[in-house]
Amino acid sequence: MAIEKILGIETEYGVAGGPDYDPTTASSIIVNAYAQQGRTRISWDFNDESPGTDARGVLGVGALAPTIETHLANTVLTNAARLYVDHAHPEYSSPECASPAQATLYDQAGEEVMRRAQRAANETLPEELKIKLYKNNSDGKGNSYGTHENYLVARQVEFADVVRAMVPHFVSRQVIVGAGKVGSETDGARGFDHDFQLSARAEFFEEVVGLETTLKRPIINTRDEPHSDAERFRRLHVICGDANMSPVATFVKLGSTALLLAALEDDGPSRFPSPPALPVRAIREFSLDTTLRHAVADEEGRTRSAWDYQDELWHLAQRYVERHGGDAVAKADEVREILNQWRELLDGVRDEPDAVADRVDWVAKRRIVEGYRSRYDLGPYDAKLRAIDLQYHDVSRDKSLAQRVGLREIFSDEQIRHAVVHAPEDTRAYFRGQCVTRFPDDIVSANWDSIVFDVGHGPLQRIPMMDPARGTRALTGSLFEQNSTAVALVAALNG
């Protein structure tokens, strides 16, 4: 039986401006500005972080365990998200969500958090030091930063099967969920004739499987850090995606991936199309091919384009839903909407791109880049076109070009504003959000799978939350109604 596909997205935002143009300083200013305007500053607990553990059980030769920077600004929000400085970027990690649509909402809430943080920070900064934030994945000069998805997967699934089944999706889904990019910026893209590619991120991938996230990035990341009961769960950490501005693209990216993972859990990997013989070449070449016709061979010599792969995977997901339903992923209506949108985007990019310019980021971006280029007769790599690419991702409403291209909304501004403050109700995020909202002064620290309380006497009390599907409103709502203090809550939980 497929397990509930609890999921979320974490995004490192690009940052410009600030004192001395130093991105780490600017990122700290952003995170602190937001934390200080809120009611609480609860710090993150690093006790259970183990990003160096490898899902394959061994550390690859030459692989470096990711480092954790505990001294940088780091906070938990009332919507149960984490807002912090990662490397030299402000990062928003969404709370654990119960469905792809909900995770899309909380990704958009993250944009709003960054927008508010930017506004609060800039109120205190002189004109020349104002900070700008971008929800994108590279600076156009060979430096990339990530938009990572996380999916709860049953521990019984062999990691080798995850690789076998999911590589085809991860190399090909960019045809509908790529964010688009003007030109290229790494050696990997050399030798191709291209002005525009489907994905911002694809050309940065150098390995098929590995532990790294910053160097020699792998298509499948093996970080085995479930932030939950490791005997029952894996957390598949997907690092090859783009930061989408289109909510429908985010929804389809999450929904398609979650459905395929559920199909893998229920039926095993044998129904999945076989991966390209050279996956790293495939992800790059697919990104560089805007005709969508370029095909690559699998081990048996059968060739498929990225579009062909997506078509096969869509049929696999559709048959899976017919047989099993999609309960593990979402309610029936939402599952139907995932399949419908996935299909429409796929047919649209091939047959009538203009019809999906309201949902596919690379199509929307390319339309304005090409329009601008022909209006002013510019060269393919003109700085103005690169500026359009960058400004498409600007988080501020008065600068953002994504705001202006007519992307289809899923949620109202009111729903997004609500999600900025309130946690999802149907995962353990609810418990974290309630604790942070009600008892900020009694919490010493929090992380994904526990909260530490100081109840004023005796040792600190750690409340474990090892199952992401528990701690919901249905399970703990009455606990908060009955216990109005942290002392009473902890006593009730220990009793």
């Binding site: 490192e12 690009g14 940052v15 410009a16 143009y21 991105p23 780490t24 990711p66 990662d86 490397h87 030299a88 970027h89 971008y134 590279s138 600076d139 156009g140 000069k141 430096n143 990339s144 930063y145 990530g146 990572h148 996230t213 910053t214 690092i239 203009d354 339309r367 304005i368 329009g371 601008y372 209006r375 003109d382 700085a383 103005k384 690169r386 500026a387 359009i388 960058l390 400004q391 008065d398 600068k399 070009l401 202006r404 291209v405 007519g406």
Partner: protein, 64 residues
């Protein structure tokens, strides 16, 4: 109606349908182009003024 007249009529109808299709597509194409022109005007009004400098100054440290 003779066979030939019937075929002729069918052809005429088909041609009419096709020309309606073509004019529909053309109209839609014009509409899209008009929308794009408006959009490009708007982009002109918000695009960072010195694109060269704006793009050059945007340098990030690599992240994950």
């Amino acid at each position: 109606m003779t066979e030939q007249e019937r075929i002729q009529k069918q052809r005429t109808e088909r041609t009419r349908e096709e020309s309606e299709d073509v004019s529909h597509v053309a109209k839609k194409g014009e509409q899209l182009k008009g929308e794009l022109d408006d959009l490009l005007d708007e982009i002109d009004s918000v695009l960072e003024e010195n694109a060269e400098e704006f793009v050059r100054n945007y340098v990030q440290k690599g992240g994950q």
